[in-house]
Symmetry: C2
Subunit: 335 residues, 2 copies
């Protein structure tokens, strides 16, 4: 039995120009909307993740308490629960699933939150990694609706180097002939393993491995730790992974009809109180990129995670990082 | 016509336990040994490179002047000129070419330099990347022979993260079914492309791409720059690349009969005057690793390249970095 709901949208016109006749937005809510309707938190998902993964963060960042808040977790398109290559019927299935942007995601999430769930005010949008990219997009598109944002280990626009890193992942997966340009019958296992191994170099920091921090995650050896991501990605569909990867590569809060590519204008529009939290040792979502973004945001503070866990600092698994993030979220919610 | 010489060694016992009946060490010399025999520079090659690539550096670091010095460039095993999977007859060919260490390389290079070329004193060993790893090995094994060393963008031991990064490269190449576990008839092109694309994320820094420094290399676009490494690696043999990758992953100046894994002892043995030059933004050969090494070396200085060119800072292509390195080499040779 599914532990989530589906919000169905019809005739969704995507930025790429295609119209999807039927779109499924899978979501889960935690807690209850209070009488004054001012306890809403929106928490988008990250790359490859589903709402279940966000629950890890909710447990880690204790401020995100369903006893107090009404927390809405919309699943990102391509994640296998919301519309994705793996669950969409022809002619939009698998290798020909349309390119979906962060903007497309957030427009649909906004309809879920306002039309379907009747929310008039969002106390906080918070997300990790691609969840942070959606968080920035919420802030830029709905400044009057969103009171605070907390983008964690993610940027408002994907940097050129981040794009290149993702090119490597894509090439590693597609190098497997079993991938068959997306028309595989059985999962391209060698490609998924290569994808995971390439990713492993990026997701932690160099210092993380030198200091053998992986032992704190319960891995006895370096090789054990390499299997970590493989377990995560082997459960995913290859086309789904590539669909989300496209979304990631093209993330830019200004690449839409509202801001027409004026990135500074999109950042200036984010009126929400913001604490932007990159990890000091993240290898692809860099402090410097967030710094340049925060400079343009009227109500934002840059607060870098002093961590050697790289990108994973924001995943909700390292106690010290969890404390740091939780304190910032408490601060935003107290205001 | 070949522009290099071959030094042949017979019955070479490798660290892995295998004995190669016939080993080819390809080398090229530049300039002349002077009357006092004290103008020798040894300059090992880097990953995927041959002596021709070292010529770029000689031109860039003008102190390395063949009019003044006798410069010996030994080609690393696996590089396609010295003994390699691609040029060794059965039963040591292709996928079953033995694992060769940095130690094995340097033992053979030492025989070339002393037995074959009659050198009694080495003024300087200098190398970039894996060339730096061989440079450290020269210093640790032949402290009475080597007067100065200049390891550039390389470490005395491959760090755990560096190992993981290389695991990703290997998996990307091997994901191509055409690779056929090394028994391919035609080059595994998809695998080699994936290998190059993964590598591209690592070889420069994040800032390099943000600042569009690739324009200074003559690339008009980000995508142009991605083709850069593909051109380099597509010319190589896949098994050769994996042989050198194994050498790289297992580099450790103490992993031998002399130091028996005592890394600190091996570092302490390096009596040579050393200027160790990591690049501040190198993503796999890290400043921190060199720093920990230099602390143990009796006669060494850490001098980081203030560059956003990442690992490529040491390749001899960026004028500012070339000046920096050239000045250090001049200093070492002046003493």
């Amino acid at each position: 039995m599914a532990d989530y709901e589906i919000f169905e949208l019809r005739q969704v016109v995507l930025q790429c120009g295609l119209t999807l006749p039927q779109v499924k937005l899978a979501y889960k809510t935690y807690g209850e909307l209070n009488a004054t309707r001012d306890n809403v938190i929106v928490m988008p998902t990250f790359y490859g993740a589903q709402h279940a993964e966000n629950e890890t963060m909710m447990a880690a960042w204790r401020t995100l308490d369903p006893k107090k808040y009404f927390i809405i977790v919309p699943n990102m398109f391509g994640n296998g629960l919301s519309s994705s290559p793996s669950n969409t019927p022809p002619p939009f299935d698998r290798a020909v699933f349309p390119n979906i942007t962060v903007y497309d995601n957030v427009v649909c999430q906004h309809r879920l939150v306002t039309e379907h769930l009747g929310v008039k005010q969002v106390r906080l949008v918070v997300g990790f990694s691609m969840g942070a990219q959606q968080t920035f997009q919420w802030g830029a598109m709905y400044p009057d609706l969103v009171q605070a944002i907390a983008p964690i280990c993610g940027s408002a626009r994907t940097s050129p180097h981040n794009y290149i890193f993702l090119e490597g992942l894509k090439a590693a997966l597609a190098a497997d002939a079993a991938f068959a340009e997306g028309w595989y019958q059985a999962p391209p296992i060698k490609g998924l393993r290569a994808f995971s191994r390439v990713y492993m170099g990026w997701v932690f920091s160099q210092d993380f491995f030198r200091e053998q921090e992986y032992r704190k995650m319960g891995f006895a050896s370096l090789e054990d730790s390499v299997r970590f991501l493989e377990g995560y990605f082997r459960r995913r569909d290859a086309n789904d992974l590539l669909a989300m990867l496209w979304t990631w590569q093209h993330a830019d809060i200004s690449a839409n009809i509202i801001y027409k590519g004026d990135f500074a204008a999109a950042l200036r529009a984010i009126k929400a109180q913001a604490i932007v939290m990159p990890s000091e040792t993240d290898l692809y979502f860099r402090v410097r990129d967030n710094e340049l973004e925060v400079e343009q945001m009227p109500n934002a503070e840059l607060r870098s995670l002093p961590s050697i866990w790289g990108h994973v600092a924001g995943l909700g698994v390292n106690p010290a990082d969890n404390e740091f993030i939780d304190a910032a979220l408490r601060e935003l919610l107290a205001k």
